[in-house]
Amino acid sequence: MSSTGEAAGTLSAPQVERYHRQIILPELGLAGQRDLLARRVLVVGAGALGSPAALYLAAAGVGTIGIADGDRVDVSNLHRQVLHGTGDVGRPKTASAKNRLAALNPGVRVVEHRQYLDRTNVLAVMAQYDVVVDGSDSFATRYLVNDAAVQLGKPLVSAAILRFEGQLLVFRPGAGCYRCVFPEPPPAGTVPNCAEAGVLGAVAGVVGSAQAVEALKLLAEVGEPAVGRLSLYDAWTGTWQQVRFHRDPTCAVCGDRPTITSLIDYDAWCGVPADSASEGAPEVSAEEAWRLHQSGVPLVDVRPLAEYRRGHVRGSVPVGPVADGSDLPASVAGAAAPLVVCVCLQGVRSAQAARRFSAAGQRAVSLQGGLLAWARAGLPWDSSSAGD
């Protein structure tokens, strides 16, 4: 760098030395490096994806890196969460991350957000940053972060991994969002998480590093960020595939007529059972549910109405997803219904609903296997809009 002094502008000599191999990329240059040093990125989740993403963002000299995570380091994290070391077990992940990033590059500021993001804090946290990198490990957080990014107009680099596979999506305001691609999460319990199904740690290294690359392009405003593309990494075959998407005009959040205009209860919407309600709910077989219904026991369908309309147990009443047990409509509850049978597609959400009703004092059981088991037993079901 012969003209370092003048061209470097606000870059110090140690900075030029540190970032030299990056600065000599003509696409980035000194101006790009100055931009990175002035930018702020939020990494949601200091876990498997957040680790490589944050490490590369810090190494690259992104000026401010926020880390949002309310978890503590567990020894079972270490095979994939490379921000943390054996000596960090038991420490808050944000503290461990801050130490590691400061050791790597003391020239960047690391801000700890030692909390799980939820609808009460997400907007205030995300508003402080230019780009959001989501490597969280729950559907509830993913949809929360997406909806907040749309509300705030923040670019979002979202990724997820499972077993040998990874998904990477890049969103810019106006160019679609996570819900444009995945309008709904899978029903709770139907897609395993990494704790249940496992994950090869290095898969997170590949996908989290790709997140850092996309975030750096957005932050420095260089290159062609993979906006509007879903990149699929299959470590088993060693292949990347890309499919394209556009903003969906019917999207509930960024569509032409959004139906979700403020943050919602994401745990309830994703069907996450409350901790205290994780015990098994009483279940009845399809035949037993049929007999109960014949004797006057109401069947209540706890799925979204659109799902109900496409197929439901004949005679069931749609009550919508059950966030808490006091949701039962007056037309169903009361002295006339000492017991209700909860119904969903596969029996997962209905079991959660039955637990919530029971906790609120309404006796409830769940149809085991849901509508699918009901239909398999040859019992009647409808796909009309009887629930309107």
């Binding site: 969280s136 699929l232 969906d248 019917t250």
Partner: protein, 90 residues
Amino acid sequence: MITGHLPRDLAEEFQSPAALTVEGVDTLTALWAVMERRHPGLGRWLCEPDGAMRQHLTLFVGWRRVPWADAPLPRAEGQEVWILRAVSGG
């Protein structure tokens, strides 16, 4: 011919390859039927009892997303079809 790509864990559950090649079908509905015939349970996992694809699945035909609301389902002869759902691991 249609090539249908499935999430690997789902394919394994129904003892299906992650990429299925199917001859002689030209609609997605027919593709689901073939999947169900070859790998019992798979088609039912993908579709509601009335044949509509489950709402949490997302479909890409020829590398482009087919918006869920679009009906009827597009002809897919010669296409790569990706059936995906969100995953949450991080």
